[in-house]
């Protein structure tokens, strides 16, 4: 009787472990079909703009790959991954970086004849320019491999993994630019100075005093 109960109990435990394992590892493949990851549609767009680009900032971002340090793990996933790394033979270390470009511009399509005022009495021209705007122009297609050391039985870092790292770097960089105002403010200051110099050089040729304002 006791043996029968023990057998049934161990079967039950085994079933629970198997179900939990399936839930944790691969529930999306439970019907035997592979999950279809939706891809963004291919698209192409060519648009006319009227922008005056006044400054460009180059921002460099770096990421490093290394085994998880067991003394710094947080939570079960990192502990499991750290233990797995610890038993592997060899090292897997790399550092990658690339540049992203942030630019400041004026949208000249919003400039109207009312934005320029001439006072002949005081020989003064007042120009009210649109606000300086910033945007990401893009990033380098290439990635710099600043360091690479894969030894022993460790797997190489392949293009898929590099693309994933670049994606993580991009997300982190955009978050930093959003959170730290110094990125945009420094660029905007540079852009306003450039615009001020340019428009004063064009408008101040006939001895006029030129005042450049930004909306």
């Amino acid at each position: 009787m006791e043996i029968n109960i023990m057998n049934r109990l161990s079967s039950l435990v085994l079933t629970i472990i198997l179900i939990t394992g399936a839930l944790l590892t691969g529930c999306q493949f439970i019907d035997g079909t592979q999950e279809i990851v939706p891809q963004r549609n291919y698209l192409s767009e060519v648009k006319s703009v009227n922008k005056l680009i006044l400054a460009q900032m180059t921002i460099s971002k770096m990421a490093t790959i290394d085994d998880i340090d067991l003394s710094k793990v947080e939570g079960m996933k990192q502990m499991a991954a750290g233990l797995m790394d610890a038993v592997k033979v060899g090292d897997r270390k790399a550092a990658y970086s690339y540049d992203t470009y942030l630019q400041a511009y004026l949208d000249l399509s919003t400039l109207t004849p009312d934005d320029i005022k001439v006072d002949e009495a005081t020989k003064t021209i007042t120009l009210n320019l649109p606000a300086v705007q910033t945007e990401f122009a893009g990033r380098d297609m290439e990635i710099r491999e600043d360091h690479y050391r894969v030894s022993g039985l460790r797997s190489h870092i392949d293009p898929k993994e590099r693309a994933e790292i670049k994606e993580q770097m991009n997300t982190a960089l955009k978050k930093e630019v959003e959170e730290k105002s110094e990125f945009r403010s420094r660029l905007e200051t540079e852009a306003r100075a450039k615009a001020d110099t340019y428009f004063k050089s064009i408008l101040g040729t006939d001895g006029y005093n030129v005042i450049v304002n930004f909306k």
Partner: protein, 190 residues
Amino acid sequence: MKAIRTIIVLAILAVAAFVAYKWYTAPEASNVTMHEAKITDVAPMLRLCSVEIYDDVPVKGTIGDRHMFARVALNGSISFDLDSVQMSESADTIAVTLPREIVDVYESTDAGAYQVIDTWFDSFLGSSNFTTAEENSIKSKVRDDYRKDIYKKGYVARARKEAVANLTSLLSGLTGKTVIVNDPTPDGTL
């Protein structure tokens, strides 16, 4: 006996649920360390941009018996350096010569802009891996080919035409003078 069995089952279920909860709420197992972004350059410039391009293009590359297929979203722009523009001024007319176009092609910063879809090799034994230098050379070629396509598709000609109109409008609006913008190379210079 039945009560003990029920308690044991419930205890096992509780432990399993606890383990599952801790697993799902634990931080991701990541071995990538992000370093702080650094400003390496801030360059003032004066560029009139008249056309912007956004495109999704396939990245296909073969080195020996290894192949790679990916997709990349590109940001392109066609602009003109106004600092180097040639201007001559007479009493009531300003003559301007449109400079050579600057065609920039960058990888987009949109999420998922670069995705490696497949890498494979033809031989029975071997590796389908591409080194960083190999992958970069494939991507550089894609960018160079795309830049040529921008000329072939007439985007540069369109950009130059629009730059002539935009520059005329800007300078005549600011100075009140007649502005003539000459374009010596309407199709651009590849």
